[in-house]
């Protein structure tokens, strides 16, 4: 766990720093791989920026909307740089909505857009897990295994490291093998999403849950399973309803 990087008089919050590095690496890979998915890198960059800015503004607005009375007499705090004043889920919904609006208006192909986004997500997701490791959040159950780490009074499963290393596998596959020939547009994203939700279902079992359980079942795992279900359903449905391309694929 290393929540702060102290560089002389500077104290840099390590989780935020790692996330920014992951975002930048993702943007770089997105630019590099855009042509592989028949997309213009400038267009994708623009959409990504609009999505990011919308998510940040939306996250702040959603946070304010959840407790407007708290800002009475302290209206300037709506401009605070403190990230604790962000609602991540609200920001995500607003960011995704903004992206959908932009790609619809600009008549960008949804499936190709999703495919071209996978290198970005492939870099951002391991950075996210590493940032959780740096913050000490998402720690694992106690273990006797030799690779356990001492954290919060016990030798524990380094769950966030399991997730970080596993998340690097889809990233490596994307970097080495994309574009996969004769694959239906959207398939790269679906396969990436299915892989991510699968390993999250698996490794969440080693993590000490917060209060989000019902009868011992983790709500997080149920959410990942629903994502996996939707992903596989859409993937199979899309292949079934696009006979020309399937025919092309199995030729």
């Amino acid at each position: 766990m290393f929540p702060v990087i102290n560089l002389g008089p500077l104290s840099i919050p390590a989780p935020a720093f790692i996330l920014i590095i992951g975002y930048m690496a993702g943007s770089f890979l997105l630019d590099k791989k855009a042509a592989s998915f028949s997309m213009d890198s400038e267009t994708i960059d623009r959409v990504l920026w609009i999505g990011t800015i919308s998510a940040l503004i939306g996250g702040r607005l959603s946070f304010i909307a959840s407790s407007p009375a708290a800002f009475k007499g302290d209206i300037l705090s709506v401009l605070s740089l403190n990230p604790a004043l962000l609602d991540p889920s609200g920001g995500l919904v607003i960011g995704i909505t903004a992206v959908i609006v932009v790609i619809t208006r600009q008549k960008i192909d949804y499936w190709m857009f999703l495919d071209s986004l996978t290198p970005f997500l492939g870099a951002l997701i391991p950075a996210y897990f590493l940032s959780r490791f740096a913050s000490g959040n998402g720690y694992g159950f106690a273990t006797n295994l030799p690779w356990g780490i001492y954290l919060w009074g016990a030798i524990r499963h380094p769950v966030q490291l399991y997730l970080t290393f596993t998340a690097l596998i889809p990233l490596a596959i994307i970097l080495v093998y994309t574009p996969i020939k004769n694959l239906l547009p959207g398939s790269t994203f679906f396969l990436f999403s299915a892989a991510t939700s699968s390993y999250l279902i698996f490794f969440s079992a080693f993590q000490v849950p917060g209060s989000n359980t019902t009868n011992g079942i983790r709500i997080d795992q149920i959410l990942y399973w629903v994502i996996l279900f939707v992903t596989l359903f859409l993937y199979n449905f899309r292949i079934k309803t696009t006979p020309d391309m399937v025919h092309h694929e199995i030729k």
Binding site: A69, S77, G136, Q221
Partner: protein, 183 residues
């Protein structure tokens, strides 16, 4: 080969989904697996206890506020974000005076001077308890890597949130206080 794999696509998908469901069931959380009986400076754990003295030689310890939610801040007089957020803490303490919630701001005295601390308290007209961490032991127990750092502790003594860095605006203190008081 590709045709064969294509025919297996749906059975593989169903198998993956069923395996996922089975794993979710098998990995249910065992009773008593929560770690909150342990003391650690992390969300979900019991807040490390401390017993320190104030400028007027009064003993101040976390145990004094048992059963009450606590906002615990670590600060130093030379730290700019600590200066920026202290008026918000003072305002919040006045607004919350009629509630059970207690604001405590531990001064990292091992990195500060008593004169500066006294001056700081006078300048910001602070009325809530300011224990002095003369040896740095409390900052060490709370793994304070950076100032300011603030812990939000519920009435059961469990840390529910940690904010490293600042300044924390008054609005956020109000929201956090409200959550601590309603939980």
């Amino acid at each position: 080969m590709k045709t064969y794999l294509n025919n297996l696509r749906i059975p593989i998908s169903v198998a993956v989904l069923l395996a996922g469901l089975a794993w979710i069931w098998l990995s249910r959380v065992p009773e008593g697996s929560r770690s909150n009986s342990l003391e650690a400076a992390q969300v979900g754990f019991s807040a490390p206890v401390f017993s320190l003295t104030s400028l007027d030689d009064q003993n101040i310890g976390l145990a004094d506020f048992k059963g009450k939610p606590v906002i615990l801040n670590f600060w130093a007089s030379w730290c700019p974000p600590c200066k920026a957020e202290m008026p918000a803490f003072q305002q919040a303490s006045l607004e919350l005076a009629n509630t059970d919630l207690q604001i405590i701001a531990i001064n990292a005295t091992s990195q500060d001077s008593l004169n500066d601390v006294r001056q700081f308290i006078d300048q910001y007209e602070i009325t809530f308890p300011i224990p002095l961490d003369l040896t740095g032991s409390s900052a060490k127990n709370y793994l304070v890597h950076s100032l300011p750092t603030t812990y939000f502790i519920d009435k059961n003594g469990i840390i529910v949130d940690v904010i490293i860095g600042g300044p924390i605006p008054l609005s956020l203190l109000r929201i956090q206080a409200n959550q601590l008081l309603t939980d």
